[in-house]
Symmetry: C2
Subunit: 167 residues, 2 copies
Amino acid sequence: MNTSTTTPETVIEADPDVPTVRLVREFDAPRELVWRAHVEPELIKQWLGPHSIGMDIEVWDMRTGGEYRYTATREGEEIAHFYGSVHRVTDNERIVQTFGFEEMPEAVSLDTLTLHDLPDGRTRLEILSVVYDFESRAGMLASGMEVGVNEGYEALDALLARLKDQA
Amino acid sequence: MNTSTTTPETVIEADPDVPTVRLVREFDAPRELVWRAHVEPELIKQWLGPHSIGMDIEVWDMRTGGEYRYTATREGEEIAHFYGSVHRVTDNERIVQTFGFEEMPEAVSLDTLTLHDLPDGRTRLEILSVVYDFESRAGMLASGMEVGVNEGYEALDALLARLKDQA
């Protein structure tokens, strides 16, 4: 594995043998809260993506056979339209889904998100993505995804802290 | 590419560099009929899979964001439960979807079906599938998929001939 640590906490790995990307991040919250923050539209819109980007959700149906669709906005202007279909959901554990955006209709990845319990009420999140070829993966890695990932997970840290206070 | 011709007509290729499988088959019918035979549940149940296997369709919603789910039966007995989600549909051209079955819930592929016009009212179908690793692909190729593929496409040849007669 070629490993690059993009913050003290998020690891993004590109496998040398297959066109996959593995992302690993730990959160100081139990699995059930990290899960809710991914499947409840009112929660995910509070953290996903870079700080400067808003999220207008049209569909967020995180069930086996479901789908999602949202528009990323900056200062009220539409900048990208993301969507995908949901292959399989195992509550509090795993989501297998596709990911794409209208601006590049040929681009698609198959993403598996998995949550693991850690000691002391913490959770490890892994997302394993595969695309059809190494060129497509190079495009993903060159897209600046780590900025959105890191800023989004900082916002998720803060959201999880608020949810723990409410619990 | 390692190429193996499994019948005079169907080619199944395993790429040496990425864990994909490419299937290519030509049909003596125009693209619109081959398309209908894939998206209309009353048509697909007439040809998909080996001759000895029936298909009880629960959901066949071939739209962007849709899903499908069916049970394979032999002499009335349930033998496997297949399902997937539909990432993107471009009418008469392309379907991007996932594929899995309940009997092996970790197994999943991302499949892109594309139809191309050929001269003389013929059509070339390609399906490009990707999985997460070479071991999973070896499992796919060892599953005897070519039997179902070849018998299914023979039945599809016959269905397309009937549809052309009706047109």
